[in-house]
Amino acid sequence: MSAWFTPRNVVVAVLLAFLALVPVYSALTGNAFLMTLFTRIVILAMAATSLNLILGYGGMVSFGHAVYLGIGGYAIGILAHEGIGSGFVQWPIAIGASALFALGVGALSLRTRGLYFIMITLAFAQLVYYFGVGLDRYGADDGLQLYRRSQFADPINLSNRTQFYYGCFVLLVASIYLTWRIVNSRFGLVIQGARSNDRRMQAIGFPTYRYRLICFVIAGTMCGLAGVLLANHTEFVSPAMMHWTRSGDLIVMVVLGGMASTFGPLIGAVTLLVLEEVLPVLIKLVATPIVGSAATRAAEYWQIVMGPLFLLVVLFARGGINGLLVSLRRD
């Protein structure tokens, strides 16, 4: 039993319990903002989990992962705009489109390595971003309003915010579990072997390209589903969903939480997004005794702290928060 009682596991357990109780807390206090924030966090944690599969376990540094949020989201938005509101139609199309796009991009970009791979994934994401900007019929730059969330049969009703939250939460936990199964399976070991030493993998007889490609498709599909959820959550899609900085944010979540760790992306997503909310408040609190009322203005510039924070994580906490928690145990 005591083997399970580690700082990392305690943090994960508390975090999961907290996420499970958010709607309860929100209902008791009438705090709707918290609910909105955490629905978003849960969805983006799922996107980060999918990125971790290729980035953390597979060593494929995709700098365009947010594109699947956009593809999944736009599939919902466009179908809804064209009068197709049924989730039974919308969701498979959205997920299928993400998978298909990942297959195409993966087939091309996995032929390259290193910086070329980083940049070609970024370039494909930009391609779709500008495609979204050019979609005149669907709001172009300004985006597209979703008048109704995806329709499912009773008793499923996504417009019920509590139900929607729990739906997202269950899908998040399912994708974490699925990722965990995958990385420990034969397939997962091949992926990790290819990250560690692709040349050796081929020498012992693995056609690594096709395994990496399938892994890329799984991650894209999973992120496409997150995009479906995000569109339903915000009831709005726009090219900004797949802006390159969003892809950067997803990488930050994975690295901040801890690459190639089961719960790292979740921890990273919660940390980053909560920090975005808390940092301005914190700055105001610290600055008020020093500069007085100017502190309110100073708080607007919280990113001036956030940016260098990423650099510090890279330099001094390469294993992310997960790594720090694991090392606590050794002391």
Binding site: F187, L189, G193, S196, R199, R200, M201, A203, I204, G205
Partner: protein, 251 residues
């Protein structure tokens, strides 16, 4: 004369102005240990690369077990039973020794599109891997991370990785590189044991090891094979002495 297991004909590769291998002909008979020696820059590494499929030859042909494998991909050659070890240790350093060898076993037990079951609990992968580790003298070291093993152990693990693919033939790229005297003795003993059951092409700088193990020796200089024969013939060959052993001869 029996048909050769590995048949190399006219293999040529140019890098810019340099001809790294220049019409190499070589035949390795089943069951023999064939050593390739030659000074640095003789084209031994290029030869290995062409045999494993990492370097595409400009001309020539490679036959293995009666099949033309000249244009076959790296992984496909391994699947046909042609296994190679690396001169510079090339392992999965963030995995344990057992995980390393189990992956090599896995590569040769069907496809790996299994997404659900825990591969580390599959006896069909772990048991052969344990046996192979024991065979190369690494019993009891299964759970050690590769990154915290010694250089000598890395060399042993290199051999285990190759054996775990259950090959018909080994391409060993300087297995003695960087070994201390005691480790060398152990490695020679291991290779001698393997020799009785596998065909081996050995590229090696350590002359003691080569002359202790080889059935036949080919000498490469400037991308060409200048002599091929039994160890005694090679020792006596005037051209070889001039081109390769010249310095020792003159003293």
């Amino acid at each position: 004369m029996t048909e050769a297991l590995l048949q190399i004909e006219g293999l040529t590769k140019r890098f810019g102005g340099v001809t790294a291998s220049d019409g190499v002909d070589l035949a390795v008979q089943p069951g023999e240990l064939h050593a390739v020696i030659g000074p640095n820059g003789a084209g031994k590494t290029t030869l290995i690369g062409q045999l494993t499929g990492e370097i595409a030859p400009d001309a020539g042909r490679v036959g293995f077990a009666g099949e033309d494998i000249t244009t076959l991909a790296v992984h496909a050659r391994s699947q046909r039973g042609l296994a190679r070890s690396f001169q510079i240790t090339s392992l999965f350093s963030d995995f344990t020794a057992l995980d390393n060898v189990a992956l090599a076993v896995q590569a040769h037990s069907g496809h790996s599109f299994h997404f659900w079951h825990d591969a580390r609990s599959e006896a069909a992968l772990r048991q052969p891997a344990r046996e192979t580790l024991a065979r190369v003298g690494l019993a009891g070291r299964e759970q050690i991370l590769v990154s915290s093993m010694s250089h000598g152990e890395h060399r042993q693990l290199e051999i285990a990785m190759v054996l775990a693919t259950r090959p018909r033939m080994l391409l060993l790229d300087e297995p003695m590189a960087g070994l201390g005297p005691e480790e060398s003795v152990r490695m020679i003993a291991l290779l001698r044991a393997l020799k009785s059951e596998l065909t081996i092409l050995l590229v090696e700088h350590d002359m003691d090891a080569v002359f202790a193990l080889a059935d036949r020796i080919s000498v490469m200089v400037y991308g060409r094979v200048i002599a091929s024969g039994a160890p005694a013939e090679i020792r006596a060959n005037a051209e070889v002495r001039k081109a390769y052993l010249g310095e020792q001869d003159g003293q």
